[in-house]
């Protein structure tokens, strides 16, 4: 069960210099077997997540950001399936009172059963998730309190009275007005911002070490978005939580994140610190993404540059670098033949592009 992933973990083990890694994903493939074909949502995803930091995950719609989070949470349901890859969680054993003796335990999540008892004890307690749509992510049939208490009762072994007390506390902690009243409310009685706060309380109810935030502010107005982002940043600092922040809003990334992972068509193309991502992007895709958004202080006459073409649908099997059909710096005979391997281009900065080295990704045999 607690098998280590030695075969792939040595490679790029400490790319993020000086960071304590909490989550290591290697060669992750998640496919969806639908009626009209196999959708290759994840096609060999590799990245590391540093402990206690905020990792932004960006990319166009359909590039596999959300599926990555769901795969790590082991919540990919039929017809989807993780076909290959390893996900290593380095979990700090919460060892009693003398917190100094921290033992780090490595668990390979892909070896666990998705709905099995071990994975369930991790889910909700160790890792939790906030979804994009606050309108639909809460069950309309139960009160807010019931839904938060459900997780507390499940993982913390307290009685109902205590659970409700904790639920009110958490709601208070996320800046919900009148928390004692809100626990008795149904989701439809709350506004979008309040629902997202409730959802955050739900996710934080068992103080997880990893939080996946899947575009948590996309559906909210700008003011509420700013409040929620402030809140998340604040909470992250307070309980030293790792946040994986999935978004396609680069502005939010600049504001929130320490590191950025850029994904394209089921692969990671670049991983770097937030500064490097914005001021020294290496991958042509990252540069195009940055050129396609306006930024304050840009010269007036400068035009926004949309990326040519559209994201191919995930049913396609593109040979070579997935970005090459849209890339302005494509090298024929190279980019369209082989998948570029991982290249370290700076401190904590990796990229997969033949512009920087000739490293080729070893072919992984996927059924």
């Amino acid at each position: 069960m607690n098998q280590t992933i030695s075969s792939t973990s040595d490679k790029a083990a400490s790319i993020l210099e000086g960071e304590d890694i909490i989550l290591k994903v290697r060669d992750l493939h998640t496919y969806f077997y639908t009626d009209i074909g196999v959708a290759r949502a994840l096609n060999g995803v590799n990245f590391d997540i540093p402990r206690g930091k905020v990792m932004g995950m960006v990319g166009e719609s359909g590039c596999g950001k959300s599926v990555t989070a769901l795969s790590i949470m082991r919540m990919v349901t039929k017809p989807g399936r993780i076909v290959q890859g390893d996900i290593a969680l380095f979990r700090k054993k919460k060892g009693g009172e003398n917190d100094k003796s921290q033992i780090i335990e490595e668990i390979n999540l892909t070896k666990l059963e998705g709905m099995g008892p071990v994975m369930r004890s991790i889910r909700g307690a160790e890792m939790s998730m906030i979804f994009q749509e606050p309108m639909t992510s809460l069950n309309p049939s139960y009160t807010i309190g019931d839904q938060i208490m459900e997780a507390i009762l499940l993982h913390q072994g307290v009685d109902k009275v205590e659970a409700e007390k904790r639920a009110i506390n958490i709601l208070d902690g996320v800046g919900m007005a009148n928390p004692a009243l809100v626990v008795k409310r149904y989701p439809h009685e709350l506004s979008g911002g309040m629902r997202q706060r409730a959802m955050i309380s739900l996710a934080l109810s068992c103080t997880p070490s990893i939080l996946f935030a899947d575009e948590p502010t996309t559906a909210l107005d700008v003011t509420t978005e700013a409040q929620i982002l402030d809140l998340m940043r604040d909470l992250q600092g307070r309980i030293n939580m790792t946040i994986i922040f999935i978004t396609h809003n680069l502005g939010v990334v600049a504001q929130m994140c320490d590191y950025v992972t850029v994904m394209y068509l089921g692969r990671v193309v670049e991983q770097a610190t937030v500064d490097d991502t914005f001021y020294n992007p290496k991958h042509p895709y990252t540069s195009s993404l940055l050129r396609s958004i306006p930024h304050v202080g840009s010269r007036q006459k400068e035009r926004l540059m949309p990326i040519r073409g559209v994201v191919p649908d995930p049913y396609s099997a593109i040979k070579g670098c997935p970005f090459h059909p849209r890339c302005s710096q494509v090298m024929r005979g190279k980019c369209d033949a082989q998948v570029p391997g991982l290249t370290v281009v700076g401190k904590s900065h990796t990229v997969r592009c033949f512009l920087y080295s000739d490293t080729v990704e070893e072919a992984s045999n996927v059924r």
């Binding site: 009209i36 649908d313 593109i318 059909p325 302005s328 920087y356 080295s357 490293t359």
Partner: protein, 389 residues
């Protein structure tokens, strides 16, 4: 660990990208909604079974007069409630062959009960021939004496599925009865669709008073039990006469079925139209100054068409069962016309069924047809929603 490499100083200029896209890229993303539906439908094995099965049923039923060895109205008074004729592939010489034979049947008086009983004369084997001359029938309007199979010896009759209480060939009657039973649903649904879609669309699109009135009507019709309502409407029909033939009655029955059946469709379409009315594309069309008719016809109908088809397909089984029940109760198709429900009238009594179980065969064909139609309808429903998991 891979070596760190300095960025290459010069990158090649952007290549002309015409032939960048000729990759082995799947075309799923380019398919239209209808193409996706077709792919999903044809991948659904049960739905394909439904399509092919129904095709065969229609062919067999409409060539029924030719396929059956006897005319469906022919009465053999010697063979009242006669059992199905046996078929064997063992010839008179005792050898197995491809030539099928039937046995001669005789009537024997049972001395105890003083009732006539049928006895199979195992010694007398009669060969079954193909493309034989027999009763004159009309197949799809053409008069012919040719039958797919039968006996050359016209003294003996060949009843694959036995005979009814007047000595008529059940097989022929089932095939001919199918012509009404398999089409009544189609016409009924077509009428319901017209009624339901016009009224449902109007109700959903214009709202207000029209909607209120329509909702009350639907609610009232929905509160009545269907069969009694059918019964009342069917009882109001005139008797069969020169001026009111079986054909008139057939069409009136389909009207009765659809008058009762349109409400469900109207309700579903109303809900659809309501959701379309607030959809962005309708708002955009309104903002562009489109007329109501244009919005309904060019924006809503194409969007709702697939749903109408699904609802229609799912409605056919109910119509077929409705006709069967009506005719079974003696309110639907009346003699001399035949339908499966009318045939089943003979099987109303348990005692009759216990004695002459072949009278229940039309029920089997009803079940088969309705089942095949349900498979098609369900396949269509699954196919229409291409992004459901």
């Amino acid at each position: 660990m891979t070596e760190t490499v300095q960025p290459l100083p010069q990158t090649p200029p952007p290549a002309e990208n015409q032939n960048l896209f000729d990759e082995p890229v799947s075309d799923v993303g380019d398919l239209s909604q209808w193409q996706l539906m077709r792919i999903r439908f044809s991948k659904n094995k049960l739905a394909m079974l439904g399509i092919w099965g129904m095709l065969i049923v229609y062919i067999v039923v409409f060539l029924g007069e030719f396929i059956a060895p006897n005319w469906y109205q022919f009465q053999d008074t010697e063979y009242v409630f006669g059992p199905p004729s046996p078929v064997t592939f063992i010839g008179p010489d005792g050898r197995f062959g491809l030539q099928p034979y039937t046995y001669a049947t005789t009537t024997v008086l049972n001395k105890d009960t003083f009732a006539f009983e049928f006895a199979v004369d195992e010694t007398q084997k009669i060969p079954i021939s193909f493309f034989v001359q027999g009763d004159e029938v009309s197949v799809l309007g053409f008069k012919t004496k040719l039958h797919l199979f039968g006996l050359k010896d016209t003294k003996q009759r060949f009843y694959v599925m036995g005979a009814d209480g007047l000595g008529r060939d059940m097989f022929a009657r089932i095939l001919v009865g199918g012509q009404i039973s398999t089409t009544v649903g189609l016409f009924g649904v077509a009428l319901s669709i017209i009624l339901g879609s016009v009224l449902g669309t109007a109700s959903g699109y214009f709202g207000g008073i029209i909607d209120d009135v329509m909702q009350r009507i639907i609610e009232v019709l929905g509160a009545f039990p269907q069969i009694p309502l059918w019964a009342a409407l069917a009882a109001a029909m005139p008797d069969i006469s020169e001026n009111f033939t079986v054909v008139h009655r057939y069409f009136l029955i389909t009207i009765v079925l659809s008058v009762v059946g349109w409400t469900g469709l109207a309700r579903q379409l109303r809900a659809k139209v309501l959701s379309y009315r607030s959809a962005d594309f309708t708002q955009a069309a309104l903002a562009a100054g489109s007329s109501d008719a244009r919005i309904i016809l060019t924006h809503m109908v194409p969007n709702g068409a697939s749903h109408i088809i699904v609802i229609a397909a799912l409605g056919i089984p109910g119509m077929i069962l409705g006709e069967t029940s009506l005719s079974f109760l003696g309110l639907g198709i009346l003699p001399p016309a035949v339908s499966w429900g009318a045939l089943l009238r003979d099987a109303q009594q348990v005692s009759v069924v216990v004695q002459h179980p072949w009278l229940l065969i039309p029920a089997g064909t009803v079940v088969l047809t309705v089942w095949l139609f349900s498979l098609i309808g369900d396949g269509l429903r699954d196919a229409v929603d291409p992004y459901s998991i």
